[in-house]
Symmetry: C2
Subunit: 763 residues, 2 copies
């Protein structure tokens, strides 16, 4: 456990207040810059009327989905808001703050997601339009990247602003309130990731299965009733879900750093973790503005250069900040700490570890999912021996890349921890804030992907884009595939760092709760002893199991929802005359409605699992098992998330390789094999994989929040096995009911004969 | 940690010696019964000359493979034999015993594997021959099941005999010597599982890719040069590998129970864990002899009945034994323990937990992989929408079944642990011995699978079997698919129980080593504190990562070796005239040689990873990280093993469903989709999945063995960070070199243009 300096003196100095105030202002400036970027994007040309028509349909579908999702999630949010009051807190101020900032975190998360979607559905039209103009490639790339820049600015701006306000308003009680803030952000992000992920892949897979496979018409063909839904999906999944997810990664990492900072240094530990991301805001602005496409280099090279430049600037500025704002010896906390090392050096190196980690993940992911490297080429090659070998080689690539990425992340955690000495956990959290300095650019990189993808969709559907412009959009789309995979890698890295830090604060939380009850050293020791037992091992196993279950549920949900799409599109082809001839428009809205309904219904089970499983384990099996549970979930979750993201990315780009004319090219058997690989990869990389990232954080935060209550009912005057058991049983019951309900749904679909499988009436 | 009663009094009473002697005799009787079963099988008819020809080719190929494998492994065995001397031990007697019994365990493991293969390659011919006779179904089933019975008797006989001899000869030092015995068994079993698994699936996938996919000739068609290799593979993988694996499961579980028994009760704790499996021998004999096919019921029903009957008899006899041989109060160990519960009751319930666990896994696995239940039907149904949905639904089934199976196993561990009270860990181990009582029948059930599968192959290739007989063999083969999946479930359950017990003994080992160094309570506490830190979390992550890596390596190895088969078979079709017309025999031996060479080469990397990864983590990151490592490996390994086994089983049986005429039947697009699923599932269920089981045990035993050495170099007079670092670096280096070598191989194959990819010359 980390040492605690001055942990009781949770007061900020005047200078500290001033700095936190400056950070809040920097955050607001980020929002303003984001607004200007947004204005710039919206000011560009909007193409032909046909293109605008299509974009409008997508905009409306996406907005309708998010509105319904907001209504669903509001109910959930209010329930949690109330439940949070039931958990122990020092006083009512803290209790109210925690619940209020839970709502604020949730609202911010949703707002970022909504804004990301709103802007993306407008930007894609403009990117498509720009591709038709003189110098189209440069213009299109600029619009796509500035769109991402705007979303990136909103992400870091809102995250940093929220955290700074909590620090200014609550000081000593900030950690508890921040738990609420982070929890709100993570919970909503998880739902948006899961819901959006199901939507996008159900529509995509459904559209492909009927369109490409059965009717042999191209992707994005307007005769396919699912095309608009497919495009809506790209926006609610890849834009709204992703933006909320990255906001949550940002916010929770920041929250973890602030909690551990205050544990290590008291209130003054709340300042430095704010300074580092504030520097990140500045470098992100630089990164966005220096990104200009050059005609003689690939798009990925341009974007990577911006990333590296802004990362290096961050590293330099953070080092300077560490020596300006941190002491160079621990002696000022008391002479006994004089030999504990140099805080400024520790902080500098930790932050740099985080920044370097981001760069390494960028390279690793690029290697495993980029079309120009061995792994994807190898997957492409296996297409010559059929779909089975494509699947197997893609799975191998996923496993392998997961291992190396996990080892790099583990090395970063371990390095920061070793280096940190007396403030080991805080050093881990600082490495996390180092990673955060890159988030602005990362969001910009990521948003690039779906915007380009959709621009291509609009171009294809409208038929108003010539060959050269189409070529430009295809290139941008391929770049987007890789940047999307990179973002997922970095998001999961922040998840591990944040979760490790929170894992530490979970243990702090237990120790504090124990001392609050008045347990003596012997009591604490025997309590800790029970942590190191087969219980823990069972906990690790359940934690790992929940990750498997969550992944399975997500993949299953996509299959089910895609099935509904297939039946509806088939029905329209069958019943509406003239679709195939192009004389009648299919009913796009019907498909959007069905997917909206299904994905909102499907997100309940994985969501409830995430919230209630830690409650069941914690109250049922105890704090040791819950610690094991978290460890198991973090470890397996990390590997699974990277495996799913990278095998999916590799399959997608292997297909692109074949489409570029390798191994027989489009229409060959090899192509058919890679299409199967890509279809398998879709829910991997866009539904299950990315949702694991917020899942880990939600489970960690739930554990930190309930830890004091578990201790309260485990030892001391309130100890009651009955109460614990009752709570655990209720949690198990909730999970079981949720699983049974979703299982029953799948049975009903599977048992209905195909000809009767009309989609049910939509609400 | 469990309480230790009389742990110093490691002496057996005269009565104890007598009981251990009786157990050894029971073990010998099992071997004799096995011999009679073997004689009975060999005495049956051998069919036509053509059938015998084919069987002979398979026998020779399998024997040649195992001989080369033995030579390869011998070198490895000798190296480890010597290395074991370097590890700390109480005296030279213990040190020598540990190394000698390492060799004995290894030799037993190999012998069982070899015998299993030897008998199976003879039995399959006889099963095929019997199917042609009057009342063929009953006769064929009887031969297949008795073959399994013989292997089962050898498995439990050798395992129990070895353990009893160690107890008789070493008494107080038995635990350390048993570690060696278990390690030898697990290490060789892991290599046989990996090597055999690669062989069988490389041949199978290679044969299918050229035969079924490219040339459109049926499975087992004699024109395919890879058919004999395919049949050899079934025997070296499913028979030799599986038999060695189950022997290892049996031996290691027994070892773990004996170690913990002696920790809890001293020498007298060595007796009861021997009695329970001795009872298992008796009930296994009953189980084998009562299995008689009835014409009005499915084969699986018959086999399951035998399983349940023998399980119930075991439960009853074990309860009786507990009350006869165990005290009914802990008071006899000292009045202070008077209220610690009733040892006889604890032992009875623990053993019954293990037996019930076996039954539950049987049901769960049957549900998820059997053709008559929802999951496989659902996978079959998704074949209507193509291969991608087949893959996705199979993966979902795998994830789901992994979760439920893991939860059931976790509940058993937790239940035994809670119930155990003062002897908690020992209770977990006793639950494991309960599971062991079913191993005899389980081996019989498992061997049933490949023998039937091969009988069908011989029948098909010879063309000497009529329609009715073919029908019988197909039915038995389908039953075999499910029994194989069940065996894997039970094997992984023993892995978890044994690993949990060993995990406990790993901690004991550290505490003992610390007290040997003279660390006081404070020292021990601070040492334990370091266990509960982010280090541990990093360890958990690395442990989970190794499981992913191992799985990826195994799958990759199959792809590579299958590629070599594809090129060779293609070459033969191209260069040898008359194969396709059936006028020239293809060169079967060439393919067998290639697969032999490749699979022996490929098993090195995963094998080295298993042995050296714990060394790297333990010496490099410390005991806490190693504890985390084990926990991560056990948890993720369990889930991964079940996921791989059950999704593979579900795909296989979904294909059978379609072949039985559902969803369009053979030759339809749905059938093609399920063939792709089955091909993906092959290395899942027969290579990577089952190898994880011995992997977990090898890693646990390595950790237990090196734990004292890690402590020695971490605290006390010998503490040296340099030595630890050096050892860790060497271990890392070994792994890196192994991985790079195997990677380079894959690059070479992928980069060679297809037309030049002649298989390399064989040695």
């Amino acid at each position: 456990m980390s040492r605690q300096f001055l942990a009781e003196g949770l007061k900020l100095s005047g200078g500290d207040y001033a700095i936190a105030g400056v950070v809040a202002v920097v955050a607001l400036i980020a929002l303003v810059i984001g607004y200007f970027l947004l204005k710039e994007v919206l000011a560009t040309g909007q193409g032909t009327a046909k293109m605008q028509d299509i974009a409008k349909a997508v905009q409306e579908g996406a907005a309708a989905y998010l509105k319904r999702q907001r209504n669903t999630l509001s109910i959930f949010g209010v329930v949690v808001f109330v439940l949070l009051f039931a958990l122990p807190a020092d006083d009512w101020n803290e209790r109210i703050g925690r619940s209020i900032f839970f709502l604020i975190g949730a609202a911010f998360s949703f707002t970022i997601g909504y804004t990301g979607m709103w802007l993306a559905t407008r930007a894609n039209l403009r990117v498509a339009a720009a591709s038709r103009e003189q110098g189209g490639r440069e213009k299109a790339m600029r619009i796509a990247f500035r769109t991402g820049g705007a979303v990136g600015m909103f992400t870091v701006g809102l995250g940093l602003f929220g955290a700074a306000v909590v620090v200014l308003a609550y000081t000593g009680q900030a950690p508890k309130v921040l738990e609420g803030f982070g929890f709100g952000a993570a919970l909503i992000a998880m739902f948006m990731r899961v819901g959006g992920g199901i939507f996008t892949k159900a529509a995509d897979v459904g559209a492909d299965l009927v369109g490409k496979v059965e009717q042999n018409i191209p992707e994005d063909d307007p005769r396919n009733a699912a095309t608009i839904a497919d495009n809506v999906g790209d926006n609610v999944g890849d834009c709204a879900g992703m933006a909320a997810d990255l906001f949550e990664s940002y916010a929770v990492m920041l929250v973890a750093a602030l909690i551990l900072g205050s544990t290590a240094f008291g209130a003054s530990g709340l300042i430095f973790p704010l300074i580092v991301p504030a520097i990140g805001v500045i470098t992100a602005v630089i990164g966005v503005y220096i990104t200009r496409a050059r005609s003689n280099e690939g798009g990925l090279v341009t974007i990577n250069r911006s990333f590296y430049i802004s990362a290096i600037i961050s590293a330099v500025l953070c080092s300077v900040a560490a020596f300006v704002f941190l002491p160079t010896t621990f002696a000022e906390f008391g002479q006994e700490y004089a030999n504990d090392g140099n805080p400024a050096v520790i902080a500098t190196v930790a932050v740099i570890i985080g920044i370097v980690l981001a760069g390494l993940i960028l390279r690793l992911t690029g290697y495993y999912t980029g079309t120009e490297h061995g792994p994807v080429k190898n997957v492409g090659k296996t297409s010559e021996t059929g779909a089975a070998t494509v699947i197997l080689s893609g799975i191998s690539v996923g496993f392998e890349s997961a291992v190396y990425t996990a080892i790099v992340i583990g090395a970063a955690v371990f390095g920061a921890y070793l280096l940190g000495g007396a403030i080991a956990l805080f050093a881990v959290a600082l490495a996390g804030t180092g990673l955060l300095t890159t988030v602005g650019v990362v969001v910009a990189m990521d948003t690039f992907g779906p915007v380009s993808d959709n621009a291509q969709g609009i171009a294809e559907m409208s038929g108003d884009v010539d060959e050269a412009a189409a070529q430009t959009l295809t290139e941008l789309d391929a770049v987007g595939n890789t940047t999307k995979a990179i973002t997922k890698g970095i998001a999961i890295a922040t998840a591990v760092l944040a979760a490790t830090a929170l894992f530490g604060s979970y243990q702090d939380s237990i120790t504090k709760a124990l001392s609050g009850i008045g347990a003596n050293a012997g009591g604490v020791k025997s309590f800790i002893d029970t942590i190191v037992s087969p219980n823990t091992l069972v906990g690790v196993m359940i934690g790992a199991a929940v990750v498997f279950m969550f992944s399975g549920l997500a993949v299953n949900a996509v299959s089910r929802a895609a099935g509904a799409v297939v039946y509806e599109v088939r029905r329209q082809f069958r019943e509406i005359a003239g679709i195939m001839e192009g004389t009648t428009r299919p009913e796009y809205g019907k498909v959007v409605d069905i997917v909206t309904r299904d994905s909102l219904r499907e997100l309940a089970t994985p969501g409830l699992l995430a919230v209630f499983a830690p409650i069941a384990v914690g109250f049922g099996l105890g704090t040791g098992a819950l610690a094991g549970y978290l460890a198991g979930a973090i470890a397996t979750g990390t590997l699974m998330a990277i495996f799913l993201a990278n095998s999916g990315g590799a399959w997608d780009n292997a297909k692109k390789l074949v489409e570029d004319g390798n191994h027989g090219g489009k229409g060959s058997e090899a192509h058919a094999a890679t299409v199967i690989g890509d279809t398998v990869g879709d829910p991997f990389k866009d539904t299950a994989g990315p949702a694991i990232n917020p899942l880990i954080k939600v489970m960690n935060l739930v554990s930190v929040l309930i830890a004091p209550a578990i201790v309260q009912f485990s030892v001391g005057p309130d100890a009651s096995f009955g109460v614990r058991l009752a709570i655990a049983l209720v949690a198990v019951l909730v999970i079981v009911v949720a699983v049974v309900v979703s299982k029953r749904r799948s049975t009903v679909i599977a048992d209905t004969p195909a000809e009767k499988q009309e989609p049910a009436k939509t609400a």
